[in-house]
Symmetry: C2
Subunit: 404 residues, 2 copies
């Protein structure tokens, strides 16, 4: 578990966040990597624990056995499932990869990314406790750079010819505008989206639910090779892990968080793509859906999203670009913390921002009143301010985005 | 001009409006009929004039020549175009039909309807000054009864096979639920909607832009015969009048006003169907649109309506019924003034209604605050209250619906 040592002491992530994340120490990198073999992706208990302890402290206590339970369970009795989680992690200590095995993967071109690394996409921090521990990446593109201006294009595996056509065209048109297309590497809409971006010689990122060496679905071996050659493959799973059924849903949060907005191209009423849509909504990222014939079950999920006002209807790349980078922003520019200096906001946006409290939260209706604008304007401005990193949704409405 | 005399003195319109319209006198019926031959459909100047004068007074002053101009122009100097309008009406006095000609039409099965008649659909009164002077009707169904529970299904003449299929299925399913399908009798979506309702043995109403004897488009002679046999043909134009280009757009207000909501099935970006949609919006009737493939130009207008939140996306009769008669209302029941007694509203609706001012208008954000509900709830409640006839949109937001 050594090659990341070289990176320790490198300069911090360049480009814009107000409060730079501290560079990961070699010890913490090793600990994070080890924990990623012990805990399942998206393990909530581990996420909670890492609020109070460093990865090294957690790993040491897990490795030391039951005597160290006080360290893990001490102040965290209320974390649901923590005791069972610790038992689970401990039972897997034998699965930790040897340094030689890790070296094989690095030799194979895989990169291990930790929070604070230059290539770590900081927008993943929006996931809070559910932020991936580490990411494995493979491919020619720098993940952070690729995702600065990106859109997730997702949809059903059982896609229709119409859906695949639309996904391909949409991805190609987005790629031509310099926008990276993020998707899940699955059959159907996902692969059509990757292929559209590749055909337009654009960047594309495939977030797999399996480890990168496992490469599920196997039938996409050639597609994954093409994505790696022109973009990046990503997974939070150890490289040799097979996908698990819950793993697909858990992976979806990364697809939603990596990009500036998510487009559902085709989805039946219970499609997994709607889970990605849910994550996008929860992350306050614009959620878009492509309509289709009402006679097609494959579009029923998209129609439901639009009818319930969960998603905005989009018919092409132009609509998507309009929502991702509305007037005044540079087209699909970088998103690293606040994308626009506060002084550059127009008077309306400034007024709305002024009305958003730092703590507690305030509803959009009150914000509109305080800002002296109509509600539509307030809602639109809040969406833009959220996308630009100034504000975030909370239980009571909206508040300023914390630095934490 | 005599057969309507028989109807004078009949009992007033039964069924529900708070302020019953006085029964038309024989003299006013004759005057209205005559004026409908002198003024174009939707003549704004005449609408204004009829606020202050009876139809008989207007007709008498028009017939008496320039000496009576004081009566017409006296207190109404500010009505735009009134003087020219009076000249126009006067120039057409020679076109008034002889009693024999009128008798021919009555013999032909045509009925002349005036405001206050038992068969007059009172929801047309929502059109204010633009309310039709008279309506000619032909067919087996009572127009007022047929339109108590009705939906307008409209769309492009240049419809795709998909659009015609959807319109037919939607109309048939609505008809099966006991809902009358209103449309414009045109080629494409209109005729598919009429045919769907006919196939389901339901009621359908065709509002023509030509006179009923002219029957435009001529190619729909058989369709119109079928509609008359099973439903009703309607027109505000004198029976022998050919359609005029502006007449199609002016006719659309009647389609929107007759029904409880309008569904646009297919419409290109500049389709005339979008004009009907505009009227439905202005009348605070629910506006719905059916999505289609984004690759089809015939659905682009529908997608635009949905994307801009002007219309709600619907995929079938179930969605339409859900919007036209939300929970708590009887399915597609009568709509005659407020559809629900105020005391029957639930506490949330009551709170929202309490927050709507009688004059001036208030924005939805303020209404939500005053009612102590979140904005989504307020907007949904306002939509329902509007559909139920309690409130209406205005420049400053929403206000209570006037009795005038």
């Amino acid at each position: 578990m050594s090659p990341e040592n070289e990176q320790t002491g490198a300069t911090g992530p360049s480009g814009g966040t107000g409060s730079p994340v501290p560079l990961p120490t070699a010890r913490d990198r090793r600990a994070r990597t080890a924990l990623s073999f012990l805990a399942d992706p998206g393990d909530q208990a581990l996420g909670w624990l890492l609020r109070a302890l460093t990865p090294s402290e957690v790993l040491a206590a897990v490795s030391a056995g039951a005597d160290s339970d006080a360290v893990l369970l001490g102040g965290h009795q209320r974390v649901p499932g923590l005791r069972k989680a610790v038992q689970r992690w401990r039972a897997r200590l034998g699965l930790l990869p040897s340094p030689a095995r890790l070296a094989t993967w690095y030799d194979h071109g895989l990169r291990l990314l930790c929070p604070g690394d230059a290539e770590w996409p900081t927008q993943l921090d929006d996931l809070g406790d559910a932020r991936p521990l580490v990411l494995w990446a493979q491919g020619s593109a720098d993940l952070r750079y690729a995702c600065l201006s990106s859109v997730s294009v997702v949809g059903a595996r059982a896609a229709s010819a119409y859906g695949q056509h639309v996904a391909t065209e949409l991805a190609a048109a987005l790629a031509e505008r310099g926008c990276t297309v993020v998707s899940g590497g699955a059959y159907g809409i996902d692969s059509a989206a990757h292929r559209g971006a590749l055909a337009a010689e654009g960047l594309t990122v495939a977030v797999l639910a399996s480890g990168l060496c496992y490469g599920y679905p196997r039938g996409h071996h050639d597609l994954f090779a093409a994505v790696a050659a022109q973009g990046t493959l990503v997974s939070e799973c150890p490289p040799d892990h097979a996908p698990t059924r819950p793993g697909f849903l858990i992976r979806n949060r990364i697809i939603a968080a990596l990009s500036r907005g998510t487009v559902v191209v085709e989805a039946a009423l219970r499609s997994g793509a709607l889970n990605t849509a849910k994550h996008a909504r929860e992350l306050c990222r614009p959620l878009m859906a492509v309509p289709g014939p009402v006679t097609s079950e494959q579009s029923a999920g998209c129609h439901e999203l639009i009818r319930e006002w969960d998603a905005v209807l989009v018919t092409g790349a132009r609509d998507v670009a309009g929502l991702i980078c509305p007037e005044g922003c540079e087209p699909l520019g970088p998103r690293l913390g606040p994308a626009v200096p506060r002084d550059d906001l127009d008077p309306v946006m400034t007024a709305v921002l002024e009305a958003v409290p730092a703590r507690g939260g305030r509803g959009p209706a009150s914000i509109a009143m305080m800002a002296g604008v109509d509600l539509d304007t307030a809602l639109r401005s809040l969406g833009l301010l959220a996308a630009a990193g100034f504000v975030q949704r909370c239980e009571k409405g909206w508040r300023l985005r914390g630095t934490g």
